[in-house]
Amino acid sequence: MSAATLEESAQAGHDTPRRTRPALITWAGYGMVLLVLALFAIGSPHFLQWSNLASVLNQAAVFAVAGIGLAIVIITGGDDVLKGGIDLSLGAVAGLAGTVTAVAVGAGAGVPVAVLGGLVVAVAIGAANGAAVVLGLRPLLATLATMGIATSLELVVSENLKVALEGSLFLWLRQGTVLGLPAAVVLLLLVAAAAWWALGRTAWGVNSYAVGQNATAASVAGLDPARYRFFSYVISSLLGGIAGVLLASRLSAAVPGIGAQILLDIILVAYMSTVFSRRLVVNIPGTVVAAVFVAGLANGLTLLGVASQWIGAAKGVLILLVLAVVVVRGRSAAK
């Protein structure tokens, strides 16, 4: 995957006419998304109503915020799944952060303290991930182990009971609006804009891409890959924690075991972002579009009256389609 990407960008650098061809195919990704959403709009009159769209965006916010975290890990670790960056603990961290927040509020702590507590726990697990990866453990195995730990901690804290979450901040996150946009969506836009700016416009972001694409070259050029990798896991877990608080406020409760359910969606969203990239790399705007698409897909299929059992299958087929597109494009670029 990455070699094809390098080659493509090298070609693009040498002869400019080549740029136009991949650019056209890039739009195919957006075209697919628009096509599917248009089908839903035609199939159900309720799909395009503002209240429905707002709820789609609200759902997308959770996946997108956590997906941005995973995207940063993949960007910095390389996109080979077995050896490169992956954070399997992200879903469990989101669940744990939401639970810690809810339990803290229930125990009488102030809302800022509770949210801070949840995020600190998330960051601590992220630091453990980062440390294990920097010490040389494969990310897949390290985050698998911390996923078990985070899931178990969530059970310990919540005693496997749903913990209600009440407070003005959480109510605002659930129902509040800023300039007509739901609060969660505004938060998502802020996070996405910050991540996009940091990855595309700062030295840290460019170096992160460099470390992920070719760690040897990056370290020869004087970067320390370990430092970038460590902080990518910390940032990812922090964003996972924020997503967890968002999710808990949307459900107005911390539900135990929800982490395992959202993990697959987070992975799907982050990897799907490659379709929206000319160079087939994981990126932030693509992650947000993918999150909206996945949320819209579930919502649209439900509105069309498709049984909920099919939605999982639809998502699975979707990942395969996306990957097939990436593989085929990678092949044609390599020729």
Partner: protein, 363 residues
């Protein structure tokens, strides 16, 4: 995985130090042996700790019951070992198990003979393996993502086939005796399932360790380019690995159906995490950081004894995941750290670490 993949070097400032340096023989040998001792030491530690904490732990009856509790996990992990040895990973292994259990239980419920139900169950599982192989070998989709999506689809398929996830329960009088024996038979005083799992493990171990096919799969997994150049049919080998893996998982599923007298959707995926952990704990036993069936069984034994011991001392279920996660993390981290201190990442470098520097010596 991919041939063109640029191997990332984690920290090249360390890499020069990893070359010859001054390795006095004894220290070098110690650092080679030490990482391999972690899993046995952990096993001994667990045995010792729980036998001190609970008087009921180190008695034959309890240890035998640990074996029968472990049997299904052992089968799943043995199947996974084959795929990991072939250089892949299979996250959908629980789906193969579930679909096999579903097929077998549904047919028994419909009154078919035992062998028909077992054969159809195994075929259902093989189907999952065939889909995986087609995606990974045919479409060249990375194994992690391909099997992840099969996991999605398989979960959905289970719900569709069971009308939204309703469990199937078999009434004991209607279950053919052969089918019941598969899950609950006893040979002398030994649980039949333990014996079956042991036979399967031995067969797979012989296949992987002693046959030409096993050597070819190992080479194809570790050095795909070299394997292809030397004329091995790498694609065919990968396909056979995924099929064998799903077949073993399917067998585990049929046994689970016979043992629990029914089918509960989504019961297979619970084995995935422990199976992956056991396989990679097993890899620390090998000089080459290579996964193997005996190593995997040690890993399974560690998890089995740990769960059993934690239950015996009355530790809440909520804390048990924490215990398992910490033991897994500690064993794997120690393996990496001890191997790193030897100066050259060597065997473990290949399996666990991101370092790719001194590869020529490891093989």
């Amino acid at each position: 995985m991919t041939l063109t993949q640029q191997q990332p070097v984690r920290n090249p400032r360390k890499a020069p130090g990893s070359q010859p340096q001054t390795n006095d023989g004894a220290a070098a040998r110690a650092s080679h042996v030490l990482p391999r001792l972690i899993a046995p030491v952990a096993l001994a530690g667990i045995l010792l700790t729980f036998s001190l904490l609970s008087p009921n732990f180190l008695v034959p009856g309890n240890l035998l019951s640990v074996l029968s509790q472990m049997a299904i996990l052992a089968l799943v992990a043995v199947g996974l070992t084959v795929v990991v040895r072939a250089g892949g990973i299979d996250l959908s292994i629980g789906v193969a198990l579930d679909l096999a259990a579903l097929g077998a239980a549904a047919l028994i419920a419909d009154g078919y003979r035992a062998w028909v139900a077992i054969a159809v169950g195994l075929l259902f599982g093989l189907l999952v393996g065939a889909v995986n192989a087609a995606l990974i070998v045919g479409l060249k989709i990375p194994p992690f993502l391909a099997t992840l999506s099969v996991w999605f689809i398989g979960t959905s398929v289970q719900q569709l086939l069971t009308g939204g996830g309703a469990p199937i329960y078999l009434s004991t009088p209607r279950v053919p005796i052969e089918f019941a024996l598969l899950g609950r038979g006893y040979v002398l005083d030994l649980d039949g399932v333990v014996l079956t799992a042991a036979i399967v493990a031995v067969v797979v171990a012989v296949l992987l360790g002693l046959t030409r096919w096993g050597r070819a799969v190992t080479v194809a997994g570790e050095q795909p380019t070299a394997a292809r150049i030397s004329g091995l049919r790498v694609n065919r080998l990968s396909v056979s690995a995924y099929l064998l893996c799903s077949l073993v998982a399917a067998f585990a599923g049929v046994i689970l159906a016979a043992r629990t007298n029914g089918f509960v959707p989504g019961s297979g995926q619970a084995y995935l995490m422990d199976a992956i952990g056991a396989v990679f704990i097993g890899a620390t036993l090998s000089r080459f950081g290579r996964v193997s069936v005996p190593g995997t069984l040690v890993g399974v034994l560690i998890f089995g004894l740990l769960s059993n011991g934690m239950n015996l001392i009355g530790l809440s279920f909520f804390w048990q995941g924490l215990g398992r996660g910490i033991v897994l993390l500690a064993i794997l981290l120690l393996g990496v750290l001890l191997a790193r201190n030897s100066g050259r990442p060597g065997p473990f470098g290949r399996l666990f670490t991101l370092t790719a520097a001194p590869r020529q010596k490891a093989d």
